[in-house]
């Protein structure tokens, strides 16, 4: 079998891997690095369970090849906590009960963390009335921006509350 050497930087640690080029980033994380927090849902970019943050932007790790990410900074759910303390978004999801079964949660949280950065950068969304003006992060904006993450338990209301809580900078 033809293989490629690639060094992936995940949660600040470098990993040298020899991979079949067909290996998706998702499979590299789960099967080669043992980082099983990132979940495989649909494996076709529709559910968002595999969402990770690459160079500050959220992507579907199922629809990209690991060999395409040499030199990138990859952050998974395992990389969000800081010295044993939950990331504020993780804490908010727990506080607001933003989950039921929890399978989609790592993807939801990675997505939500990146969402706040996108909003802080002034990015518009489909819910933005005038795309020329940086929008206020209303619940409609949060829902639209999270549409790439499906929760089959339908914890959406509490997911939106958790994200709004962190966006507003504190506990509610």
């Amino acid at each position: 079998m033809h293989t490629e050497n690639v060094t992936l930087t995940v949660n600040g640690r470098r990993h040298a891997l020899e991979l079949d080029p067909r290996t998706t980033l998702l499979d590299a994380l789960r099967e080669h690095l043992g980082l099983t927090g990132t979940k495989k849902g649909c494996d076709q970019g529709q559910c968002g369970a595999c969402t990770v943050i690459v160079n500050g932007q959220r992507i579907n790790s199922c629809l990209t090849l690991a060999v395409m990410h040499a030199g990138d900074e990859i952050t998974t759910i395992e990389g969000l906590e800081d010295g044993g303390n939950l990331h504020p978004m993780q804490a908010a999801f727990a506080r607001h009960d933003g989950l039921q079964c929890g399978y989609c949660t790592p993807g939801q949280i990675c997505s939500a963390v990146a969402l706040l950065a996108e909003h802080n950068a002034g990015w518009p969304s489909y819910a933005t009335a005038d795309v020329a003006i940086a929008p206020v992060l209303t619940d409609a904006e949060i829902a639209e921006r999270m549409s790439g993450n499906i929760c089959r338990c339908s914890a959406y209301a509490n997911i939106v509350s958790a994200i709004r809580d962190v966006a507003e900078g504190g506990r509610t």
């Binding site: 990209t64 489909y126 020329a132």
Partner: protein, 327 residues
Amino acid sequence: MKPFRYERASSVASACALATEPTTKFVAGGTNLLDLMKLQIETPTHLVDIGPLPLADIEETAEGGLRIGARVTNSVLAADMRVRRRYPVLSQAILAGASTQLRNKATTGGNLLQRTRCAYFYDTTKPCNKRMPGSGCAALEGLNRMNAVIGVSNDCIAAHGSDMAVAMAALDARVETVAADGAIRTIPIDTLYRPPGNTPHIETVLAPGELIQSVLLPPPPPGRQLYRKVRDRASFAFALVSAAVVVAREGDGVSAARVAFGGISYKPWRSREAEAALVGAPATRASFDAAGRAALRNAHGYGYNDFKIPLARRTLRAVLADATGVI
């Protein structure tokens, strides 16, 4: 996924030279190609990753427009302040498509070259002339609710899925390509796509090894720009019908108009017929209805998608009314 050889392009010229075999594919974001490779609908033997190429900038052009590098992601393009201020219909259209995760990977060139989402193209147990030339079209007599109603043939009624391209069609975008021999040419977006005819597997006029390197937007046309998308759910769904318009009023009349539809054809469907009906007409719902009738005059439903014809007319009327402030 079938095995393939993976290579990173070191220059535009080397990328084009590597890709002259029809079984070689360029990959940029990969969001559509890798999905199709998993299903073995796409089975390239070589992938040329154009990620290292310097095609990720948005630059002003001398004529007052923008040059968008082929690797500029959909997210970056939609968020660019020059696009948001001067080409808001393009931002709106991009943001109407897919999810943020996908838009963060999907590129300008890849979006234009995405394959159809026709259910029978994806279902490898069914005939499809696009996937397997000569096997027939299962959509013709099948569940064709999402399929095209204009410009297609009895060999293929697949619709193009892009929102971005619909706005680009209304904005008279041109695609700049580099061929394997280094020759550069510009192609109006309206002629990039080949009608399906009896060769629906040949989708564009691009030759093997020809790479889209940028999309050129001319200066914005006069008038208000607006994109309207009609779909089965509020977000993250392909269009049943969409419409991009740029429309200017002078007094009570329409002085300039651009109209393009999504979801109804094999390509973003620019309607010069609707534009001709609008220019010089009073800005009224009756005029907008007449433009819709002109646009869909040659449309033909295939059963489950018959509704798209009146829906496209009504969508055009609604978006024109919004854009012109007509109640």
